[in-house]
Amino acid sequence: MPAFVYDAMDFLLPFQWVSYAFMKNALLAVLLISPLFGLLGTMVVSNKMAFFSDALGHGAFTGIAIGALFGLLNPVIAASVFSVLFAILITVIKDKSREATDTIIGVFSSLAVALGLVLISMGGSFNKYSSYLIGDLLSISVAEIGVLVLVFLLVMLIWFFIANKLLLISVNPSLAASRGVKTLPLEIVFTCIVAVIVTISIQWVGLLIVNSMLVLPAAAARNVARNTRQYTFTSVLIALISGILGLIGSYYLNTATGATIVLVSGVLFFLSLAVKRVRS
């Protein structure tokens, strides 16, 4: 990490909680990852994919288990590959079948998490990997922040080209097709992005709540926004505010960071519900 970033943070944020290097790293990670969750979440919520993205998290967990089984130093890369394949598989199945997709997703999701647990508990090394259930944001390394910066830029670039098409698909897939949108390839691109983001975040926020980070900010923004512009910016803003407040809160309360972040966005969600009630 270039020293000037730390110096700038010390200068701009003269608070006790920022003075530690691990808190500086965690804050940088929050600033990079929460806008992505806010952005992707808008489409997850609009397309009623909350359950689907939950399944992607379970696929990522299995990927981590497989990576661990093969003794890879960094199981996250193996996990990313696996969860991208898993995402493509369920997206294609979802497209082929015209029946209730909830059940199909549920079957794959529970199978994935069961397989992951079996693999991880093999040889009694479960405790070593149980941190993936809860996550630990404060353990993030400088190299990992570098990866996050790359992922952040890449997702923003892809998003720039696919956001409008995804919006049309969410309104009506046939209407999107009539405007020349190739629905299946686009859905695959989108689910792969979500799969990668969820997978790399699991180690920091944990399997149990990673989906809430994706769904809650967008769900809250949806209550108060009147158009897509407001929806997108409010969702990103709520994700950022919850990320920062949650990080500070977890420092002073000595609690799990990911869970604290989710609690803050939960509070913001109910506030947005109240605003919606008052308006109507």
């Binding site: 409008n164 049309l168 897509t228």
Partner: protein
């Protein structure tokens, strides 16, 4: 210069007008056959109504034409001057939106997403708004530009989607009429608008309809389908044919009985 007859395109001719030909269309989901051997010939400037009982494959036919679902057979198109052939530019008005009514998508957002290059959330609304209002004015819906899609009535939504389908002006306009949610007055307004547009822009229009009285009044041609084309011709010819009688009973009685089945959804 080698002069070729512009009306001839890979062995099919349109007798002097632009036209769309649908040849041997078939759709199957797994082992269930939804449509088979559908052959249609659609002329420009004509409003063709597709009628048939529930589950006859009417909406499926439209989705197959616009290429949203896999089908067998070919779609051929030739414009009046013979300059463009192959894939027609298609405008489509879906039957309903598979849409969460609470989603914060405004009418303006929908147009911007369909036409703009920048992501909707980065577009400066003031620039595009005037243009979108102009598009909406064709269907007298310019006042709806800032409304959320979920807040529109059935008739308003249908008009907004029609305006979107007409921007840019397509070669072939596919309309899937909703079974419910639009009152009789709104429905008549819609038919009248569509009927005027056909003359003004020389459009080929295929309309899936549930209202035989309006079909009789506004459509140039009617096509009765039930898995395949049973009969086609002027609305009166089709209504008087044996297939329509069999499906809907006698014409006068049949039309009333048909309307009653539709009221269940209203």
């Amino acid at each position: 210069m080698n002069q070729t007859n512009p009306q001839e395109y890979k062995g099919f001719a349109c007798s002097g007008f632009c036209c769309t030909k649908i040849e041997n269309f078939g759709v199957a989901f797994g082992s269930a056959v939804i449509l088979e051997d559908v052959n249609l010939h659609i002329h420009c400037g004509e409003l063709t109504a597709i009628i048939g009982p529930n589950g006859a494959g009417k909406s499926t036919l439209l989705k197959a034409i616009l290429g949203d679902i896999r089908h067998t057979g070919k779609l051929k198109y030739l414009d009046a001057k013979g300059q463009r052939s192959g894939n027609p530019l298609i405008g489509y008005v879906p039957q309903h939106l598979a849409f969460d009514r609470g989603s914060p998508v405004s009418v303006l957002d929908l147009f911007n997403a369909a036409e703009g290059r920048l992501p909707v959330f980065l577009q400066r609304n003031r620039k595009t708004k005037a243009r979108v209002e102009e598009s909406l004015s064709i269907v007298k819906a310019q006042h709806l530009v800032d409304r959320k899609l979920g807040a529109l009535s059935g008739g308003e939504l249908q008009r907004v989607l029609l305006a979107l389908a007409l921007d840019p002006i397509p070669d072939l306009l596919l309309l899937d009429e909703p079974v419910s949610g639009i009152d009789q007055k709104g429905l008549e307004l819609f038919y009248k608008t569509v009927s005027d547009l056909r003359r003004e822009y020389d459009l080929s229009i295929i309309l899936v309809s549930h209202d035989l009285d309006l079909v009789e009044h506004y459509a140039d041609r009617a096509i009765l389908i039930n898995k395949t084309v049973l009969s086609q011709g002027t609305p009166q010819e089709v209504f008087d044919g044996p297939d329509a009688r069999e499906l809907f009973g006698s014409v006068r009685f049949g039309r009333e009985a048909y309307d009653e089945t539709q009221e269940g959804g209203n």
